[in-house]
Symmetry: C2
Subunit: 335 residues, 2 copies
Amino acid sequence: MTISSAEMQSVLYELFLKYGFSETRAKILADTHTENTLMGVNSHGVNRVPAFINLVRKGIIKINEEAEPVDAFGSIERWDGRYGSGVINARKCTDRAIELAKAHGMGLVALRNTNHWMRGGAYGWQAADAGCIAILFTNTQPNMPPWGGRDSRIGNNPFIVAIPRAEGHVVLDMAISQFSFGKIQEYALKDEKLPFAGGWDENNELSDDPVELRKKQRGLPIGYWKGSALSMILDMLATLLSAGDSTYKISQKEEETGVSQIYLCIDPGKFSDPNISEKLLNEIIDYTHDVPPMNSGDKVYYPGERALMNRERNLANGMIVDDKIWREVMELVNQ
Amino acid sequence: MTISSAEMQSVLYELFLKYGFSETRAKILADTHTENTLMGVNSHGVNRVPAFINLVRKGIIKINEEAEPVDAFGSIERWDGRYGSGVINARKCTDRAIELAKAHGMGLVALRNTNHWMRGGAYGWQAADAGCIAILFTNTQPNMPPWGGRDSRIGNNPFIVAIPRAEGHVVLDMAISQFSFGKIQEYALKDEKLPFAGGWDENNELSDDPVELRKKQRGLPIGYWKGSALSMILDMLATLLSAGDSTYKISQKEEETGVSQIYLCIDPGKFSDPNISEKLLNEIIDYTHDVPPMNSGDKVYYPGERALMNRERNLANGMIVDDKIWREVMELVNQ
């Protein structure tokens, strides 16, 4: 079915109010879940709402808590998320990193004890809208084996880099896994193989069969041993700077909660002429856009370009939402 | 043949003096090339010396220039490498980023107009030795097609993350390509296939055949489209913050020169108890080390662990150096 962003915002706002969030918090949550869906990331937009409400009901996400600073030195700060909503904490910590960047050129907030931030790219766009470069990442529960190991002990640790640009921000938003388990499920539902290996099957072989991959959640890091090492070191940075829980500690909980995150912002306006910056960015974009395609019809996109295309299309035509998901959301509202 | 680190240092020091470097600069260069070889990275240690001298002779690397600051705001600075040696510029900019981190919690130096820094990990170890976390990267000439494109228009842009640790620093040092062309050459010499696809052959197919891959230098980014986007955005960050040359501009030169780099340091000691930090890091290392192996005999390493093992072995037994390379070096010294 098709839903307009205004309708989704209004329904979700009601829902979050009903489950006890304050008006301000309910609005941030409704706006962010809607924005994520507009950008084409339903998996971390509307589709994730029922699971989020479930964690609220269980008391794992604390509706009356939000991130507070616990320590500071110059341009770096440590915050405690107090197990509040990951989205609300992420919005707040991104704002604080932007403030620090405006004051010092650069700012870093290390956040512990927070919850899933849904679509990390949302905070990249937030920083870029404020004129800041952002580097953001989070640890997660384990869902990939470290290279050479059999069991999942590293997280897919989404990693975001955002660069402000007048014609459309450049935003990389990627997990360190080659495919998310959400994406693997989509292939399974379509009865298709993955285009490349996405994890390990029960015989400890790399596999592109989504049905096999879903039996044991052992995803493949991008670049094999390279992504394995990158995932590990992102977990170390987030854990160390926030003095928070690592993927190891998160693995010992029944649900994924209390994750650790980094919000690093840089204000390029401090010594860059925006016109020159724009020219330098466009030079890189044009050079890669203009490449002859590998196969006829292929096209090269800059990071974030397709998200913007999704947004424009969804604003014009409404968002396509799974019937079953929307029914679940409406039932939660009307229950 | 086997060479001790003392012998290599002394020979290289003579060599760099002979080609006009000051005593201070010759020592930095000799030490860094030796250290890179000790760490097991001959390709960016002793093996690279003849090519480096060639660039010095051509005047592409300016022996009497080094990086100087051109602009500053708070914890971020922009430096100009003045086409000096990439190693000397990198040592200087890493030191400056460390200083800024000690003063502000965090420091960033964006460097333009520099030359190849050899092994990026060297500066990660430098920062970690000073108690700092470091995130460092460089752009390069194009050597991989952007995802969907046919020609190489993105660089393999080495990316380094270092974390200080009493028992041995954790240092990730990876290019964004799945395999370097140096590594692909090694497989060709051994007449072996790569373990995974490493680039595109002449029929625009992904290939694991090193002979085919060397015909057209079209490497594969880690994680296919993900590494392609990561390479692009690292180039953007380095170019924008340094107001330097992008991979596009570098592609228009006859030789790779005038690259752009980022040196970001964070001082975790500003609010972390070193004992707690060590415990948190070891928790992650132990959890991944202790994983049952995928195949009997497999072992999981933390990033940088094998470099340290190489160093210990090479310090004890001397470094194994290709006879032909060492002969070339000695000829350059005695010419």
